[in-house]
């Protein structure tokens, strides 16, 4: 799904620590996911309006993110507030990074460019993050494999799968026509599901990726 069409999972919440940023790609659109020092998450176009440097290479300082290249600083609305080479300049409103709506739900960061998209709702008290996995396969192939395993659909590109006594929330992000990110959390407290269950689920996901990326090997095996 494109960012314009609805909410897209772009990272596990636990992957984006306070004061850090990371790059991601949704259907070819490069985005930066960053968390300010108050803990709020932001998803923007991953491009400084000045010289095009990736903002995901930048530095988070308080509630600003600064471009690595020339230090242009942007506030949480994407508005440039300070240009170090011109410290007295009143930065015009036109120097702004395009932003997306961002929300954290089910232990994941979701983003959209749609004004009226709604996130699915499930009754979840606790979550245990597992990992995000990048698979060199079309989203349809990954989705078909998960459906074959019995995944119950929750939303476009997301579902719940019973596995090894756990309930997994699986969310798919189409990186490109041939690459998919799979974000995985266990529905349940980390007191119960942390440790061995987390590791087991991560190994299962890596094994799934191997089978999807090497269908001939999997058939022989």
């Amino acid at each position: 799904m494109k960012l314009e069409a609805g909410w897209v999972p772009v990272a596990l919440s636990s992957s984006i620590e306070t004061g850090t940023s990371a790059g991601a790609v949704v259907e070819g659109s490069e985005i930066v996911v960053w968390r300010d020092n108050s803990g709020k998450i932001h998803v923007w176009e991953d491009r400084c309006p000045h010289r095009g440097m990736r903002m995901s290479f930048g530095f988070v300082r308080g509630d600003h993110i600064a471009c690595l290249y020339h230090g242009w600083q942007y506030d949480t609305a994407g508005q440039c507030r300070h240009i170090p080479a011109h410290p007295t300049l009143e930065v015009p409103q036109t120097i702004k990074v395009p932003t997306y709506s961002a929300e954290e739900k089910f232990g994941m960061v979701w983003a959209t460019a749609s004004a009226d998209a709604k996130l699915p709702d499930i009754d979840v008290a606790d979550l245990t993050p597992v990992r995000s996995l990048y698979i060199d396969c079309p989203q349809e192939t990954v989705r078909a494999a998960l459906d074959a395993l019995g995944m119950a659909p929750l939303a476009d590109g997301a579902g719940i799968l019973a596995h090894n006594g756990d309930r997994l929330l699986l969310a798919l992000q189409r990186v490109s026509p041939l690459q998919t990110a799979l974000h995985i959390v266990i529905l349940g407290s980390s007191d119960v599901h942390g440790g061995a269950s987390q590791k087991h689920t991560a190994h299962w996901a890596e094994s799934l990726r191997f089978r999807l990326e090497n269908p001939d090997v999997a058939e022989v095996a």
Partner: protein
């Protein structure tokens, strides 16, 4: 400080491409812009806005879009 400047960029120009580039850059830098003549050899235009941003506009246009090569820039202040 607000400054107004008139520019003539000379070189190997793709008029449509350069004009689009100049308009985009002026918009990004919050400058008023008035386009003058633009052909395969030169483009004339005037901009007005914060002095630092007029300088930034000149720098951007000196690099130009990928299909133009700017060899010379003439700049003068305007009233």
């Amino acid at each position: 400080m607000v400054e107004a400047a008139r520019f003539t960029f000379r070189g190997r120009m793709a008029p449509e491409s350069f004009t689009e580039f100049a308009l985009h850059r002026a918009g990004r830098l919050d400058l008023e812009i008035r386009l003058g003549a633009c052909d395969a050899a030169s483009a004339t235009l005037s901009v007005k806005g914060q002095a630092d941003l007029v300088d930034a506009f000149e720098m951007a246009c000196s690099l130009g879009p990928y299909d133009c090569i700017i060899l010379d820039i003439e700049r003068s202040g305007t009233a």
